[in-house]
Protein backbone atom coordinates (compact mmCIF):
# COMPACT_ATOMS: atom_id res chain seq x y z
CA UNK A 1 0.00 0.00 0.00
CA UNK A 2 1.24 3.48 -0.84
CA UNK A 3 0.31 6.93 0.35
CA UNK A 4 -0.92 7.94 -3.08
CA UNK A 5 -4.59 8.90 -2.91
CA UNK A 6 -5.47 7.08 -6.09
CA UNK A 7 -6.99 3.65 -5.78
CA UNK A 8 -4.94 1.78 -8.37
CA UNK A 9 -1.77 2.38 -6.34
CA UNK A 10 -3.31 0.50 -3.44
CA UNK A 11 -4.47 -2.65 -5.19
CA UNK A 12 -5.29 -6.06 -3.77
CA UNK A 13 -5.36 -9.11 -6.04
CA UNK A 14 -5.78 -12.85 -6.02
CA UNK A 15 -7.38 -13.14 -2.61
CA UNK A 16 -7.34 -16.60 -1.11
CA UNK A 17 -9.15 -15.90 2.09
CA UNK A 18 -10.67 -18.40 4.47
CA UNK A 19 -14.41 -17.94 4.69
CA UNK A 20 -14.27 -17.84 8.47
CA UNK A 21 -11.75 -14.99 8.62
CA UNK A 22 -12.37 -13.11 5.38
CA UNK A 23 -14.38 -10.44 7.16
CA UNK A 24 -11.52 -9.70 9.53
CA UNK A 25 -9.05 -9.44 6.68
CA UNK A 26 -11.31 -7.14 4.70
CA UNK A 27 -11.68 -4.96 7.79
CA UNK A 28 -7.90 -4.97 8.25
CA UNK A 29 -7.43 -3.72 4.70
CA UNK A 30 -9.97 -0.98 5.30
CA UNK A 31 -8.25 0.03 8.52
CA UNK A 32 -4.91 0.27 6.76
CA UNK A 33 -6.46 2.45 4.05
CA UNK A 34 -8.01 4.61 6.74
CA UNK A 35 -4.66 5.05 8.48
CA UNK A 36 -2.93 6.01 5.23
CA UNK A 37 -5.87 8.14 4.09
CA UNK A 38 -5.94 6.43 0.70
CA UNK A 39 -8.52 4.44 -1.25
CA UNK A 40 -8.14 0.72 -1.97
CA UNK A 41 -8.78 -0.99 -5.29
CA UNK A 42 -9.71 -4.64 -4.74
CA UNK A 43 -9.60 -6.80 -7.87
CA UNK A 44 -11.68 -9.96 -7.84
CA UNK A 45 -11.48 -12.78 -10.37
CA UNK A 46 -12.74 -16.32 -10.85
CA UNK A 47 -10.91 -18.55 -8.39
CA UNK A 48 -10.65 -15.96 -5.63
CA UNK A 49 -11.94 -17.11 -2.28
CA UNK A 50 -14.28 -17.08 -0.57
CA UNK A 51 -16.59 -17.49 -3.53
CA UNK A 52 -18.85 -14.71 -2.29
CA UNK A 53 -15.96 -12.25 -1.97
CA UNK A 54 -17.60 -9.63 -4.17
CA UNK A 55 -20.70 -9.61 -2.03
CA UNK A 56 -18.61 -9.45 1.13
CA UNK A 57 -16.71 -6.46 -0.23
CA UNK A 58 -19.94 -4.70 -1.10
CA UNK A 59 -21.35 -5.46 2.33
CA UNK A 60 -18.17 -4.06 3.88
CA UNK A 61 -18.57 -0.72 2.11
CA UNK A 62 -16.63 -1.27 -1.09
CA UNK A 63 -18.27 0.18 -4.19
CA UNK A 64 -18.35 -1.80 -7.43
CA UNK A 65 -16.38 0.17 -10.03
CA UNK A 66 -15.92 -1.72 -13.27
CA UNK A 67 -15.70 -5.11 -14.98
CA UNK A 68 -12.57 -5.81 -17.02
CA UNK A 69 -12.65 -8.75 -19.44
CA UNK A 70 -9.60 -10.99 -18.99
CA UNK A 71 -8.08 -11.70 -22.40
CA UNK A 72 -5.21 -13.74 -23.85
CA UNK A 73 -3.54 -14.01 -27.23
CA UNK A 74 -1.48 -16.93 -28.50
CA UNK A 75 1.59 -15.05 -29.72
CA UNK A 76 2.16 -17.47 -32.56
CA UNK A 77 -1.00 -16.03 -34.08
CA UNK A 78 -0.46 -12.31 -33.84
CA UNK A 79 -1.45 -10.54 -37.06
CA UNK A 80 0.86 -8.40 -39.17
CA UNK A 81 0.36 -4.65 -39.14
CA UNK A 82 -1.11 -4.63 -42.64
CA UNK A 83 -3.87 -6.89 -41.42
CA UNK A 84 -4.63 -4.57 -38.50
CA UNK A 85 -4.95 -1.18 -40.13
CA UNK A 86 -4.22 0.32 -43.49
CA UNK A 87 -3.54 3.88 -44.55
CA UNK A 88 -1.76 5.12 -41.45
CA UNK A 89 1.36 6.95 -42.49
CA UNK A 90 4.24 8.35 -40.50
CA UNK A 91 3.78 6.11 -37.45
CA UNK A 92 6.80 5.35 -35.29
CA UNK A 93 6.94 3.18 -32.18
CA UNK A 94 9.87 3.14 -29.79
CA UNK A 95 10.69 1.71 -26.41
CA UNK A 96 11.24 4.25 -23.64
CA UNK A 97 14.99 4.27 -23.15
CA UNK A 98 15.92 7.45 -21.32
CA UNK A 99 14.60 9.90 -18.76
CA UNK A 100 13.30 12.33 -21.35
CA UNK A 101 11.16 9.72 -23.09
CA UNK A 102 10.10 8.41 -19.67
CA UNK A 103 8.71 11.83 -18.81
CA UNK A 104 6.92 11.99 -22.15
CA UNK A 105 5.49 8.54 -21.49
CA UNK A 106 4.03 9.64 -18.16
CA UNK A 107 2.46 12.76 -19.68
CA UNK A 108 0.86 10.91 -22.61
CA UNK A 109 -0.26 8.06 -20.35
CA UNK A 110 -2.02 10.52 -18.03
CA UNK A 111 -3.55 12.37 -20.96
CA UNK A 112 -4.76 9.16 -22.54
CA UNK A 113 -6.47 7.94 -19.39
CA UNK A 114 -7.69 11.37 -18.33
CA UNK A 115 -5.64 11.28 -15.13
CA UNK A 116 -4.21 14.41 -13.51
CA UNK A 117 -0.54 14.90 -14.39
CA UNK A 118 0.63 14.15 -10.82
CA UNK A 119 -0.89 10.68 -11.12
CA UNK A 120 0.99 10.05 -14.34
CA UNK A 121 4.16 11.25 -12.62
CA UNK A 122 3.78 8.57 -9.94
CA UNK A 123 4.80 6.11 -12.67
CA UNK A 124 8.00 8.05 -13.39
CA UNK A 125 10.37 6.18 -11.02
CA UNK A 126 9.50 2.80 -12.52
CA UNK A 127 9.46 4.21 -16.05
CA UNK A 128 12.95 5.66 -15.63
CA UNK A 129 14.24 2.57 -13.85
CA UNK A 130 13.04 0.25 -16.61
CA UNK A 131 14.28 2.62 -19.32
CA UNK A 132 17.81 2.28 -17.97
CA UNK A 133 17.78 -1.52 -18.02
CA UNK A 134 17.31 -3.08 -21.46
CA UNK A 135 16.81 -6.47 -19.79
CA UNK A 136 14.14 -5.30 -17.35
CA UNK A 137 10.97 -7.43 -17.44
CA UNK A 138 8.90 -4.24 -17.53
CA UNK A 139 9.11 -2.08 -20.64
CA UNK A 140 7.24 1.01 -21.88
CA UNK A 141 6.51 2.12 -25.43
CA UNK A 142 5.60 5.38 -27.14
CA UNK A 143 3.80 5.74 -30.45
CA UNK A 144 4.16 8.89 -32.49
CA UNK A 145 1.95 9.81 -35.39
CA UNK A 146 2.87 12.60 -37.76
CA UNK A 147 5.48 13.88 -35.36
CA UNK A 148 3.30 13.95 -32.24
CA UNK A 149 3.64 11.40 -29.43
CA UNK A 150 0.09 10.24 -28.88
CA UNK A 151 -0.09 6.76 -27.36
CA UNK A 152 1.49 4.58 -24.69
CA UNK A 153 1.70 0.92 -23.76
CA UNK A 154 3.73 -1.28 -21.41
CA UNK A 155 4.66 -4.93 -21.09
CA UNK A 156 5.63 -7.07 -18.11
CA UNK A 157 7.24 -10.47 -18.58
CA UNK A 158 6.66 -13.26 -16.08
CA UNK A 159 7.98 -16.53 -17.44
CA UNK A 160 6.46 -17.06 -20.87
CA UNK A 161 3.60 -14.65 -20.17
CA UNK A 162 3.66 -11.09 -21.49
CA UNK A 163 1.24 -8.76 -19.75
CA UNK A 164 0.14 -5.74 -21.77
CA UNK A 165 -0.80 -2.61 -19.81
CA UNK A 166 -1.31 1.11 -20.03
CA UNK A 167 -2.59 1.17 -23.61
CA UNK A 168 -3.70 4.78 -23.86
CA UNK A 169 -4.28 7.08 -26.83
CA UNK A 170 -4.80 10.82 -26.60
CA UNK A 171 -8.45 11.69 -27.22
CA UNK A 172 -7.96 13.73 -30.40
CA UNK A 173 -6.40 10.85 -32.34
CA UNK A 174 -8.59 7.94 -31.29
CA UNK A 175 -10.46 5.57 -33.60
CA UNK A 176 -7.67 5.43 -36.15
CA UNK A 177 -6.15 2.10 -35.19
CA UNK A 178 -3.16 3.56 -33.37
CA UNK A 179 -3.92 1.67 -30.17
CA UNK A 180 -4.22 -1.57 -32.13
CA UNK A 181 -0.88 -0.98 -33.81
CA UNK A 182 0.80 -0.26 -30.51
CA UNK A 183 -0.78 -3.26 -28.79
CA UNK A 184 0.39 -5.53 -31.61
CA UNK A 185 3.88 -4.04 -31.38
CA UNK A 186 3.97 -4.59 -27.62
CA UNK A 187 2.80 -8.18 -28.09
CA UNK A 188 5.49 -8.84 -30.71
CA UNK A 189 8.12 -7.32 -28.47
CA UNK A 190 6.99 -9.56 -25.62
CA UNK A 191 7.26 -12.53 -27.97
CA UNK A 192 10.78 -11.49 -28.98
CA UNK A 193 11.71 -11.56 -25.28
CA UNK A 194 10.38 -15.05 -24.75
CA UNK A 195 6.64 -14.76 -24.18
CA UNK A 196 4.34 -17.26 -25.85
CA UNK A 197 1.08 -15.75 -24.65
CA UNK A 198 -0.03 -12.15 -24.10
CA UNK A 199 -2.51 -11.27 -21.38
CA UNK A 200 -4.44 -8.12 -20.61
CA UNK A 201 -7.46 -6.78 -18.84
CA UNK A 202 -9.56 -4.81 -21.28
CA UNK A 203 -11.43 -1.59 -20.79
CA UNK A 204 -14.82 -1.32 -22.43
CA UNK A 205 -13.28 0.90 -25.11
CA UNK A 206 -10.52 -1.58 -25.86
CA UNK A 207 -12.60 -4.73 -26.09
CA UNK A 208 -13.42 -4.44 -29.79
CA UNK A 209 -9.82 -3.62 -30.63
CA UNK A 210 -8.41 -6.59 -28.74
CA UNK A 211 -10.96 -9.00 -30.18
CA UNK A 212 -9.97 -7.84 -33.65
CA UNK A 213 -6.33 -8.61 -32.84
CA UNK A 214 -7.31 -12.16 -31.91
CA UNK A 215 -7.46 -11.91 -28.13
CA UNK A 216 -9.99 -14.24 -26.54
CA UNK A 217 -11.84 -13.82 -23.28
CA UNK A 218 -11.44 -15.89 -20.10
CA UNK A 219 -14.01 -14.46 -17.75
CA UNK A 220 -13.40 -11.11 -16.16
CA UNK A 221 -11.96 -9.17 -13.29
CA UNK A 222 -14.14 -6.87 -11.23
CA UNK A 223 -12.85 -3.89 -9.33
CA UNK A 224 -14.22 -2.59 -6.05
CA UNK A 225 -13.14 0.61 -4.36
CA UNK A 226 -13.08 1.45 -0.68
CA UNK A 227 -12.75 5.15 -0.01
CA UNK A 228 -12.01 6.20 3.58
CA UNK A 229 -14.24 8.95 4.83
CA UNK A 230 -11.36 11.40 4.92
CA UNK A 231 -10.48 11.10 1.23
CA UNK A 232 -12.25 12.25 -1.85
CA UNK A 233 -13.95 9.81 -4.19
CA UNK A 234 -11.46 8.07 -6.42
CA UNK A 235 -11.90 6.39 -9.73
CA UNK A 236 -10.81 2.94 -10.74
CA UNK A 237 -8.06 2.51 -13.25
CA UNK A 238 -6.51 -0.46 -14.86
CA UNK A 239 -2.72 -0.29 -14.76
Amino acid sequence: MTRVAFAVFNSIFAARLDAATAGEQIDAAKARAQRNGVPILWWTAPGDTPADLAQRLTDAGFAYAVTLPAMTLDLSRIPQNGAIVNGLDDVTIAAVDDERSARTWCDVFAGGFGFPKPIGDEFLPLTIESARDPNAPYRNYLLSWRGETVATASTMLTGDVGGIYNVATLPHVRRRGLGALLTAHAARDARSRGASVAVLQSSEAGLRVYRALGFREHGSFEQFIFTPASTSKERAAAP
Binding site: M1, F13, A15, L75, L126, Y138, V161, V199, Q201, P239
Partner: protein
Amino acid sequence: MRLSDAAAVSAMQRNLVAVFEALVRAMPGADSYQGSDSAGR
Protein backbone atom coordinates in the same frame (compact mmCIF):
# COMPACT_ATOMS: atom_id res chain seq x y z
CA MET B 1 -0.16 -21.59 -26.40
CA ARG B 2 -3.79 -21.85 -25.36
CA LEU B 3 -4.70 -21.55 -21.72
CA SER B 4 -7.71 -22.76 -19.81
CA ASP B 5 -9.77 -19.99 -18.24
CA ALA B 6 -8.44 -20.79 -14.78
CA ALA B 7 -4.83 -20.93 -15.98
CA ALA B 8 -5.27 -17.67 -17.89
CA VAL B 9 -6.64 -15.83 -14.89
CA SER B 10 -3.93 -17.23 -12.65
CA ALA B 11 -1.22 -16.17 -15.11
CA MET B 12 -2.75 -12.70 -15.30
CA GLN B 13 -2.79 -12.37 -11.54
CA ARG B 14 0.88 -13.32 -11.27
CA ASN B 15 1.71 -10.82 -13.98
CA LEU B 16 -0.37 -8.08 -12.34
CA VAL B 17 1.33 -8.70 -9.02
CA ALA B 18 4.73 -8.38 -10.74
CA VAL B 19 3.68 -5.02 -12.20
CA PHE B 20 2.54 -3.66 -8.87
CA GLU B 21 5.56 -5.03 -7.04
CA ALA B 22 7.77 -3.17 -9.49
CA LEU B 23 5.67 -0.01 -9.37
CA VAL B 24 5.46 0.23 -5.60
CA ARG B 25 9.09 -0.71 -4.98
CA ALA B 26 10.22 2.02 -7.37
CA MET B 27 8.10 4.68 -5.66
CA PRO B 28 10.06 6.66 -3.07
CA GLY B 29 6.84 7.55 -1.27
CA ALA B 30 5.57 4.01 -0.81
CA ASP B 31 5.71 3.05 2.82
CA SER B 32 5.76 -0.67 2.13
CA TYR B 33 5.12 -3.42 -0.28
CA GLN B 34 2.99 -5.94 1.54
CA GLY B 35 3.57 -8.87 -0.77
CA SER B 36 1.44 -11.94 -0.69
CA ASP B 37 0.01 -11.36 2.75
CA SER B 38 -1.70 -8.14 1.73
CA ALA B 39 -3.89 -10.02 -0.68
CA GLY B 40 -4.40 -12.88 1.69
CA ARG B 41 -2.96 -15.29 -0.83
